[in-house]
Amino acid sequence: MEVVRLRVNGDERVCGVPAHYTLLEALRYGLGLTGSKQGCDKGDCGACTVIVDGRAILSCITPVWEAEGRDVRTVEGLANGTELHPVQDEFDLNGAAQCGFCTPGILCSSVALLDRNPSPSRGEIRAALSGNLCRCTGYEKIYDAVEAAAARLDP
């Protein structure tokens, strides 16, 4: 066991992890933040996507040590208190989450996109989500939700 210090969703956290842990394992098993999902554990599906220093990254192939001293944001940290981030709300309104297993990762990719590009085109949304596999939706409703959220953020 090693001790790792992480800043997650604004909280300074300390946890004991085996030295080989990935950021995803530390989040899920060390801190109990199970919102980030494991779909493949090898960087292929995007279900584990979190935001580190403003960039969407794959936490399953990120050694936990690389996240030390950085700002980690997960699906649990997207809402502002009880107020949902518009993209979370629009996911519900647009039916963008079916089984919902890809959803935390896609939300993180979407928020990272909207933070740097508040009014993305559909093509830009498509490109930004190309690392997140969704097996349920065919992606259309996800684009709709991100577009609607962008319109709310930057009307």
Binding site: D44, L93, A97, C99, R126
Partner: protein, 811 residues
Amino acid sequence: MSSRRESTQHSIGDPQRNGSRDGESGLSTIGRPMRKVDGLAKSTGRARYTDDIRFPGMLHGKILRSPHPHARIVAIDTSRAEALEGVHAAVTGRDMPVTYGIIPWTPDEYPLCVDRVRYVGDGVAAVAAVDEDTAIAALDLIDVTYEELPAYLDPHEAIAADSGPYIHEPRKPGWNGNITKTVKLEFGDVDAGLEDAHIMVEGDYFFEGTTHTPIEPHCAIGLAEGNGRLTVWSATQVPHYLHRELARVLDVDPASVRVIQPPVGGAFGGKSEPFDLEFCVARLSMMTGRPVKILYTREEVFYSHRGRHPFHMRYRTGADREGMLTAVDSEIVMDGGAYASFGLVTTYYSGQLLTAPYQMPAYRFNSTRAYTNKPACGPKRGHGSVQPRFAFEVQLDRIAEKLSIDPIELRRRNFIGADTRTVNDLRVTSNGFLECLDEVERASGWKHKHRRLPFGRGVGVAGSTYITGTNYPVYPNDMPQSGIQLQVDRSGRVAVFSGASEIGQGVDSMVAYIVAEELGVPLAHVRVLAGDTDFTPVDLGAYSSRVTFMLGNACIDAARKLKAQVQEAVAAEWGARPGEVLLAGGLAVRAGDTATSMPLRVAFNLAEAMYGTLGSTGSYNTPKDVHGTYRGATIGASPAYSFTAHVAEVEVDVETGFVTVEKIWIAHDCGRALNPVLVAGQMEGSAYMGFAEALMEEQIFKTADQGRAGLHNAPSLLDYRIPTSLDTPALESLIVESIDPEGPYGAKEAGEGPLHPSIPAIANAIHDAVGVRMDSLPFSPPRVWRALRAVEDGRGDRVAGLRAAGVGGAT
């Protein structure tokens, strides 16, 4: 910023989404875009899937898997593994020597192999340890001695075998143990129909196997308590069947077994039977008294499979001068993999489900499912009927081409109609197929595109039908297929206890919409507790597109019984007739006198005072007069059928063979869309999955020449290519509502039917674009490139000439 967000924030129950009562349908919640009851949990990360659940003292299990495609287990010794620090228990097949199978007539697998392994990846032993690392290390210490047996990787070779060792013991002496099932059925005089036909089109088709690939890997947790109780949490689509099999195989009183199904992260048929991990976590917990979890790796998901069978198909289709079908004949060999799974049903479905939406005067099919030493195939979205549909709709396109009839027109002419029986005696009620054809024709601009686009670009059409639930459960019984229970408290809240499985399709939301509609309560006052065999009535599971129709009807039944009690109590209070009491918008209102009203909470309290604690149950069972009486007539029977048509538009690069699907228009007759957003989501997800099978996906295994026989070719999400956002075409949903007479508010299925036409529509579009007939899946660049070259070289026997015919197939 925060005020701006607030100003546009929608919430459940706000008028913008709930709307007012729909004048035309008389419905207020049903038919409208509504939020999902689990939407918030899923968009905040709070939904707890099976692997998100942890218990104090929980152990982690791992399963040792066979490296051989076919071998005898000579000896197996777990003692070195058990001696490893941190290992708490090990099990082998001998600890659970009871066969099971989702179909009670074909139980042919053990939780762990007892004396024989039948595919690379077959489970032979399992361990439980303090953590995953220790469990993995323990697997290396299990000593297994195998004696290799010859492996069958090709279904034709398996069928041709005339002596053992077969993959399974023959059920009768002299039989071939490599065959799961053969079905031969004939309706009408097929030979005469083909003889009399003006034209007969004949073709061989190959559908490559594909797998479900839910993003959530299978996961289960077992917890045995000292009092004999056993609880299993599992990412399953069939908690009821799992409940039965756990009790039977582990020899535990069913009343002591509880199955809890947390939200499932995608399934598509891939989680619709018991798997080794569920038996192993239960057994390991019974041995250790500790909770035990097993989470499949992504590789294990690929090996557990139960996905689409590879089909080798030969079709002969006859038609008269006008393009009316005269007879259809098929021969199908199915590559089933190592175990039966749902294979008995698959074998029937491969023929039974082709007989609509077109009239067939005569029809014959001869289907055989072979065992091979590969992971077992089973039901994947559109079970058993996606493969024949591909072949048949390409056959129709060829007939249209030969007779110079527009392919949409050809399909219209052969339309079977509503309220009729198919040639194999399936009862068809509502049928919106013609509207589906109209919709895709209009929306795609078909008339300006078919045979009119420049060379390399084309459009194709296809149609299909699918069952709305299978008419009979997998084990014979007369009890309802779906049950529901409602309970009302004094605050006006209604609880729904539903045995159905939420796998992303929205069933938990659907029952809430129905309760809101029937009782007039706001959606926010409905709670749904689902998928827990200790507390919810039986629903048979999320398979065969049965849930909306069957559970929806059960829910209406329960809600109306409750409503009658509330109306009675309020009517007594007002001195009115019960029929004059309307429940809507959170109120009880007197008809014709809207000034007389009371909050529903008060109405519920009056009813509780009159009848005691308020609750009701509802159930649904299928009608039994919807099929013929021949052997097998019940398989393929359904209380209703959905209908679909697609147009696909493609661009083909003739230099590389690369096919780009630009767009798919999907028109689907779902009876009534209970929530159009969710229905469109099912349609788009289905078309996406069909597109993926058409162009990209292959669940294939290496032969001995390619390294190691039976090894999965690409068991990862990188190499088994499922479409990303950049690969997926634009998808446009066109909902058609035929209002089924028996469906809940007229609804039928939407989750599987809309997959079928994607594949043949794309094949037919490729023909329109470049004049080649693709008869083998997937239409990957090498296959398309070779087909193009074959035509150029004059070797394309089944194909209209490419350049000679004038570009784009325009003749």
